[in-house]
Structures are given as C-alpha cells and as structure tokens.
Symmetry: C2
Subunit: 348 residues, 2 copies
DNA sequence: TGTTAGCACTCAATTCTACTGAGTGCTAAC
DNA sequence: GTTAGCACTCAGTAGAATTGAGTGCTAACA
C-alpha cells in the first residue's frame, strides 16, 4: 500500500469510520455522475444511518482537512487529489468482471506475432477494457547480451548493422563509410564484429582494432554507431492505445489538446511511467506525479516482469475521477497475464 | 490538376470571373473566420467593384449550383465541398513561406538516423509546419529483394529469423520449432536459408527442401513464417504526427473523438491515403474520399518516390475549411525534400 | 440589361430578468 | 452528539425583449 511521504506531511491520513464512509460515498457518486455531491445524496445512500445535517457537518471537517472541495458556495462537494488518494489507499477494492476476465484470457490465448505486435495489441485491449487511454512500455535491451551481429552491404558506401539481442529484440543501424568497401571486406568486418560483440551488453567497453585498413575502420565505425545508442533511451518501446478516449474522458477541448500533446511525446510518457514505478506507486493522482500539464489526470501503472526482472509496464491514463477499482484491476490483470505470457511456454 | 470525374456529372464546373471571385472571397474569408460569410463582407474585400446587392444575387446562383450553402436563412454563406473543390482546382496557389522553407531545409540538413526515424520526425515536422495532423506512409518491402537472412537461436526451441531487404528494411520473425535444435543445426539452416532466399522478393516461390531432418524442417518453417507476412499489409509503415491538432482543428468533442478513433486504425489511414493517390488526387475534400466518418475532413496527399518509383506518401488531415494553399504547399515541399533525401547522397 | 439603393423580413445570438432549486451554514431543540 | 428548521447563496434555466447581421425582393437607374 504505497503512500506519498511528501506533501501534506502534517496530516495524519486517518479518518474515523464515518468520515471515511462519507468520503467514499462522495468519491463513488462523483465518479459516477461527474457532478458535485451534496450531503443529502450521501445520506440517501443508506450506508450510514444519519441525517444530511450530520453529513454536512462531517463534510465541513473533510473539506477543512483537504479531502473535499467545493466548486462554489451552494454546490455539493468534489473530492480533491488527497480525497482520491485516501479512497484508493483505503477504500476501493476491485475485481475484474467475468466478461472482461474472459476477454483477457481469450486475447492471450490467441495473440501471436512478435513481441512488439503483442505489446501493441495489448495496449488496444487494455484501452478497450477500461475506456481509458492505455500505455504499454517495454524496456530497452541495454542490459541484454548481444546474440549476433551482421553487417550487410546495401551498396559500396552503405552498410547496415543488424544486431540481435538475447531478449529477442533486433536493431539496425546504418553505417556510412567514407570509402568504397568490397563485399569481402564487409564479410570480414561482420565476422570480426561478431567476435567482438557477441555476449557483451550494449554499454560494455570493447577492444576495437586500431589498424587503419578498410575492415578495421568499418569495424570501428560500426561499434561506434551501435554504442551511440546507449545514452538515449535505448530501445524503449511505447505503445499507446485508445488515444481517442481522451476526448471522451476529459471535457474542455483545451485539456484534450494538452493531454494528447503529452501523449505524442513518447519519451515523456516513458519517464512518467518510470517515475511512478520508481516511487513504488501504482497510481498517481493529479498533482502527485508532479507533472504540471497532467494535473487533471490520474495514471495507473502495473509492472511487467520477464523471468523475474522488471522489463516493462502497462499503464492507464484517465481523468482524476476515473473508475479506480475497475481500471486498477484491469491493469493488474493484464500485467499479470503479460508477465505470464512472456515467462511461459512460448516467446513468440 | 486532378479533378473528380464522378459526382455532379451535370455541372460544367465553370464559373464566370465574377462568380469565381466571389466564391474565392467566401472561401478565403470562411477559412479565416470559421463564420458564414455575408455579401457585404465579400463586397468589402475590394477585389471587385460591385455592391453587396449584386454579390447577393450572384450568391443565390452559386448556392443554386451547389458551391455555397446557407446554415440558416439570415446567415451568410458557407462553402460546400464542391465550393472548396473549385477553389482548390482553380483559385488557390500557395507557396511556402520563407521561414518554413528554411525550417524544412534545416530539418533535412540535420536529420539523421534510420529511415523509420526520419519518417517519424518528418511527420512531426509537417504537423508543426501546418498545425494539422500529418500522416507519413512508407510502403512495404514486398517488392524489395532480400539481401540477407539469418537464423539466430534464442534457446533450444526458439529461433529468430532476421531478414534484411535491399531497401534497407529489416524484419524479424520468431520461429518456434517442435523439437530441440542444436546451434550447429541452426547455423546450417541459416546457411541454407541464405542460399534459398537471397535475391528473391517476398512473394516469390522458392524450392524448400522436402527432407524430414531437423535442418530441413527448420528451413521450411522459417520460409513459411516469412511468407506468411505477404498477404497482410507487408511492412507498411505509418507515422502520425500532431494528433493533438485534431482537438484544435475540429470543434465538437464528438468529431474529435471520431477522427482520433480513425487515426488509431493505421490500416484505415494507409488505405485512405492510398485510395486518394490511386484516384490521382492530391486533395480529397469532405465526402470525396467516400469515407463516412471523415466527412468533415479534408485530406491532402503528396507522393514520395525513391529512385523514381513510388514508395510512400506524406499527408495532412484537417477540417474541410483548412488552409489549402499553405498546407498543400507544405506537403509538396516536404514530399519533394523527402524524395530528394532518399534519392540523394546518403540513405542513412 | 445589368446594377444598385432601399426596405421589409428573418432568425440566431445576446442580453436581461426573474425564478428555481440544490445545497449550504447556523441555530436551537432533542 | 444529532437533527430539524430556516435563512441564505448562487449556478443554472427559462422566457421575453432586443439586437443586428444578413437576406430577398422591388423599383429606379445607367
């Protein structure tokens, strides 16, 4: 049960049962209706046998303590980020519905294709399951050993370095040489590259030949090109599904535009997801992720592991008033299945 | 100057100079303001020395002939798809502004990385230049000869078939064998695959070995896996840039959602662009592309060729009241530069 | 014959008003 | 501590009046 340690350090983060029940009712109702929730509506839920007046006075407290807010004097209450946080940490508990469970099962039973395809389709699945925009992140191959490299000649000046990693990923890098290279030379360079690189990881130091002949130069250039990838987000893959859901989930064209603009910058999305995971959170609500343009969003993440070590994540992005229970359950179910899928019998 | 031959076959598609001038004024103004344009606004442009009354009577004709429409009785006129079409075919003429020309130049001077990266970045560029959503399509490698294949062993049962094509594209395919395979066998299979496939195109028939030993089986499976790709859109690549612009360009959350949903289905986008190109058009306005959900959109396309043969396209998607001149000019400029880029000195 | 000024007419959009009602905070009684 | 009662607030709505942009028509004009 992750919790923010920063922000509101003074609050004890504990509510008596009744306050909690009222908060829960407000959150539930507001998620449902998108409207401010009044004291009488809470009293009418029947979960607590008190009058609206009592609810009202409790609400004043809840508001003072920062769990609720009032859009204007004569309106009901709306949960704050802190209110949602309490709800998520203490109150909600979701399971995936029968039908959805089945849908997930069917999906993973039938899905085929390369890892990338599976991830992309998973993203679509998750978005369909929840009606929120989904993000699937696959970590790069920086820590994966190189299984094989091959230098292929496109023409006299252009070679293509194709590298296969132990995790099954493949990269290609163009190598432009400043002199004409024969097929024989390319083949020899390819052989040397294999000898040099097989078994190493991307950021390992390797001993490149210092000679000045064509082959050695080619080898040096190839290694340099390959290693140039390391500093950038190496081979991180992002798959975003259901970006059209953004238009449904948020009102206000401006918010929609802003969120979409963020989603376009995939690096941002990756680091956002990574940040949240690093904090040990599974949900970041509103301002919690400290990412200004997304204050009106909540982000749910669930890690995916392969053979025990972290190798990606699935995420969901929705409005702060999203259906946490369902969405979190779906994210967890999918991430578990995904983990299972890649751990399991076939890697294809 | 492409023109639709279907639809409105009765119309002569010719307007006298004054009508044309009025239509032009209406289109220009409406693109600018997004509001219906009145007769006095047209008269006030100064481009024609007549009173608003005269403009009015001409507008009645233009409306009767289908170039203009009136949202309601006491409003100005708005161009119809046909009106825009006339405008595009006869009236607009755009050049790319200094600054933009420079931006394009700078971009292509500095861009580096693999083809995919270039295309993705180009898509972003085009979207930034025009403030519309851009689509960059790269055709597949179906017609490209295979330069090299390599079978790499991930573990005893899993192999990865990596194929390099003459156009510089690389594919990977998982091959799952039903028996354990040794490294030696994989190496031998890899050698045979090379012998078999190098120089062929994807949909070519190749003579696979019919023997039943491990190596032969492996070879058969690998070839089958590779060839299974042909029927689908083989290696078509789509890069969509600036989907957030959708939220700006269209009003009405519903339209935004619909357009975004279309953009998510990349196959649809590819076939849309392809359709328009096949019709010899460079712009499809509203209902012209016959694609119901996009009736409020206009799509601009410009082909990209490599070494003379068509190998992709750049496109822009905006509202029917988009800035055709600028957008078309930008699309043309970028497609030309892209063509040049890939024809030119370096392929990287 | 084509053009234009003038005018009555239409109708969306705006403004204003009054009103409604959901919801509050406070208080006094239980 | 709880609750009924009440005065108060204020967004939202509905209706009426007004505005004004724009039209179509007609009659006069070059």
């Amino acid at each position: 049960m992750a919790r923010r340690s920063t922000r509101q350090p003074s609050s004890t983060d504990d509510l008596d049962t009744r306050k909690a029940a009222i908060l829960e009712a407000v959150v539930r109702e507001h998620i449902d209706t998108a409207q401010p929730v009044g004291s009488s509506a809470v009293a009418a839920t029947g979960h607590l046998a008190v009058s609206s007046a009592t609810v009202r006075s409790e609400m004043v407290t809840l508001e003072r303590e920062g769990y609720l807010a009032q859009p204007h004097t004569s309106a009901g209450r709306v949960p704050t980020d802190k209110g949602y946080r309490y709800f998520v940490d203490h109150l909600q508990a979701g399971v995936v519905g029968e039908a959805q469970q089945q849908q997930i099962k069917d999906f993973f039973a039938n899905v085929r294709g390369e890892v990338e395809d599976v991830l992309a389709q998973t993203s679509t699945l998750l978005s369909q399951l929840t009606s929120y925009t989904s993000v699937v992140v696959g970590t790069g191959h920086a820590q994966s050993a190189i299984l094989s490299t091959q230098l292929v000649s496109l023409d006299a000046r252009h070679q293509l370095l194709v590298t296969v990693f132990a995790d099954g990923s493949v990269t290609k890098h163009s190598v432009l040489s400043s002199f004409d290279v024969s097929h024989v030379e390319v083949a020899e360079a390819s052989r040397q590259l294999n000898a040099l690189l097989i078994g190493t990881v991307l950021d390992a130091r390797v001993q490149v030949p210092s000679r000045l002949d064509h082959v050695a130069t080619l080898v040096r250039e190839a290694v340099a090109t390959l290693h140039a990838e390391v500093p950038t987000l190496d081979g991180e893959q992002v798959f975003i599904g259901g970006s059209s859901k953004v238009a449904e989930a948020f009102d206000g064209v401006d918010t929609v535009r802003q969120v979409l603009a963020i989603l376009e910058q995939e690096l941002l999305v990756v680091s956002l997801v990574q940040d949240i995971l690093d904090q040990g959170l599974s949900v970041a609500i509103g301002s919690e992720h400290g990412f200004e343009p997304l204050v009106s969003c909540a982000v749910i993440v669930a890690p995916v592991t392969i053979d025990g070590h972290p190798s990606g994540a699935v995420g969901l992005l929705g409005p702060t008033r999203m259906k946490y229970s369902e969405a979190m359950a779906a994210a967890r179910a999918v991430s578990a299945q995904l983990t299972h899928h890649f751990d399991g019998d076939d890697r294809a």
